[in-house]
Symmetry: C2
Subunit: 412 residues, 2 copies
């Protein structure tokens, strides 16, 4: 009995890169608040110094620091109050030796001053006299011009997924419009004679569609705009129609189910027909997720995912999402994983990449990862998992108490 | 010189809980795809067994496992093919001793069968004869009725932030509509005579508004609907107007800036006036973030945040967001932090909770956390940080090489 020949995960990644060649998300301009979570399309270079002038970080008095040297509780420095810095305006006067100027947090440091004495270390016996009871060092309580970001400096690199703090840096530098990669549109097609949509009451032999919804949610989280095509029966003509319609309106198609080699598995043939034989692989040595297809119809890459819910989610996380990130030009950043010890050993098969679900348990000696056993058809095993552990193809398994890296899947 | 008296972070948390008493996000019904990221408002109990019938997990033949006992490559078991299970329909016949029924992945196991032989372990010399070359155990390649989720079982607990895998479990159990907590509406007001909006070119003494945008982004990430009121000058009457308008249209107000004790700090007085003195605290022993205010005007909690960008983000993360989560009834789950060693020692002050920014460095012996030094006015220090380390109030600092827990702030 022949069965599809699996390729390695590495080889699959190489073929996907090839299948996406010449394709990249377009650049679009969005408003600053909209930019959150998008992928930055260009390096952002500051045109200005930030702050654009030296500012006080406290409420107090701008002084020449030298005038406070030696001051203390018993020996206050005596200064003459020469005026007050108005907020949001240029400081018009300069601070002469022996003078102090009132300044609020964020105020512009007047010429001559090089430090600010906090209000609580001053006394004001009358309107024009200031007693300073503590020495300030040059630069103390001041952010100098350009200290945060200097003109010409690259604030953020292209390919970065824009975080709240990045929104802040962009705001500071005057980017009310931000060049980002347009979110890819992904169509998801569910297949299966036995599959019914969620609102339906399945009759005997039927089951509700899970993958349409889990894959949508995962791809939305990954920065895609998802269109749910719905459920297509296990019928070659119907799948052909669904695929030919979908590719007109999207960047990527994901077909759930119908990816194996049975009589009802039409995805490969449909891609071959519409793409004139452009199926790059069928079958990857991963568990769960072996019956995975990748092809291309014109300019639209198509993934065929296994029908088992955990397998579909695994392939979406490990294979589809990285492909989308690459299409978006997303920089490959460090993925922070949690080191944990295995509570038990897990056998694997060399030559195959395994992804196991684990529950993290915090003990006094650190985290422990407890494998969640269960077939890849069981969605409940995903809901009880804290994360995923990868057993790479060069390993035959994991030993009990071996330290592994857990990729967290529970979010905030 | 008097200055506000700080309370501890613990005490602040207690007062915030008190300030939110009687307030909780409403329950609303949303469609399943919309539920992603929302907080579940009720325990979800499955009304049905999942799967609702025993199913095959492979393409093959449903058999009585006993009939295959002893079968192997040289000694195949001989069975009679009695028919085929149609997908999505009830399996009408029962499997008698010595019989096999063709079945595809997901097909309903016919009565009598207790296992499925994979296609690749069978041969079919003619249409009615099946040779089985491997023994199958009872239950092999079958998901039995209720094995994933049994009727009456609680699938997901209220208070959970809904993840893609939860969307899958909800889909499986027929929840096309999901009871969730309505996202709170938060109004953000920026204050400061020196602050101009991002599209403006600041003139001398002015600076662009950062906090309006960072706080918006953080609170959106935390599941809020944010309304940006814009910038209000350091004028008591203007702030009073802004606050009295804002509280009509939101669940929570956040005022950025004007939270210290200077002549331009009107937030406390404005809350007292509109809330008839309901300021619960002013000043918290955290660094950065000391000048933080919490009060309540009618049914609307109001936070006053420091103007320095890093301080504002720190207070938003450590104080405002947990309050919002509690308002949403969000279950306090495990926060997964990355253990790392400090690259250098950091002094702190006992009695004060410090939050320092660190860059994580991966070395052969694990992660190291390198503190990023810089004033709380410098937004760039947030963009280079991988995470935050908390130095709790009972510590005087961190030692070099001490193991700390890093809360990651870089997302995906």
């Amino acid at each position: 009995m022949d069965y599809f020949n699996c390729i390695s995960l590495n080889e699959a990644e190489r073929l996907i890169l090839h299948g996406f060649s010449g394709l990249q998300a377009e650049i679009e301009q969005v408003t600053l608040p909209e930019a959150l979570g998008h992928i930055l399309a260009e390096d952002i270079i500051s045109k200005e110094d930030l702050p654009p002038f030296s500012r006080s970080t406290v409420d107090g008095f701008a002084v020449r620091s030298m005038d406070t040297f030696g001051a203390g509780e018993g020996v206050p420095a005596l200064l003459n109050i020469a005026g007050e810095v108005a907020m949001g305006e240029q400081a018009l006067f300069s601070v002469q030796p022996g003078q102090a100027v009132a300044i609020a947090t964020g105020g512009m440091l007047p010429v001559g001053a090089d430090a600010v004495v906090m209000l609580e270390y001053t006394e004001r016996p009358d309107n024009s006299t200031l007693l300073v009871v503590r020495t300030v060092a040059p630069g103390e309580n001041v952010i100098v011009k350009g200290e945060d970001i200097s003109a010409g400096h690259c604030i953020l690199r292209q390919g970065r997924r824009i975080l709240p703090q990045d929104i802040g840096a962009l705001a500071a530098c005057g980017y009310s419009i931000v060049p980002v990669r347009r979110k890819p549109v992904v169509v998801i097609i569910s297949t299966g004679d036995e599959v019914v949509d969620v609102p339906c009451s399945p009759v005997n032999g039927q089951i509700r569609d899970i993958n349409l919804y889990t894959l949508s949610a995962m791809l939305e989280d990954a920065g895609c705009i998802v269109k749910r095509y719905g459920i297509v029966k296990d019928n070659y003509e119907d799948l052909l129609t669904a695929l030919s319609q979908s590719i007109l309106h999207c960047n990527v198609v994901v077909v759930s189910g119908g990816s194996s080699v049975g009589a009802r598995d039409h995805t490969v043939r449909a891609i071959q027909e519409l793409g004139k034989k452009d199926v790059l692989f069928h079958g990857v040595a991963v568990k769960p997720g072996k019956p995975t297809i990748f092809g291309r119809i014109g300019n639209v890459p198509v993934f065929g995912l296994p029908g088992h819910p955990v397998a579909a989610m695994t392939v979406c996380r490990q294979i589809v999402t990285p492909a989308i990130q690459s299409f978006l030009g997303q920089a490959v950043g460090e993925v922070y994983t949690i080191p944990a010890r295995m509570t038990r050993s897990m056998a694997s098969v060399p030559g195959r990449d395994d992804y196991i679900r684990v529950r993290l348990i915090r003990k006094s000696d650190g985290y422990w990862a407890e494998p969640i056993l269960g077939k890849s058809g069981l969605i409940s095993t995903m809901c009880t998992a804290s994360g995923i552990v990868h057993i790479s193809a060069d390993k035959g398994g994991l030993y009990s108490e071996e330290i592994v890296e857990v990729e967290i899947i529970t979010g905030k």
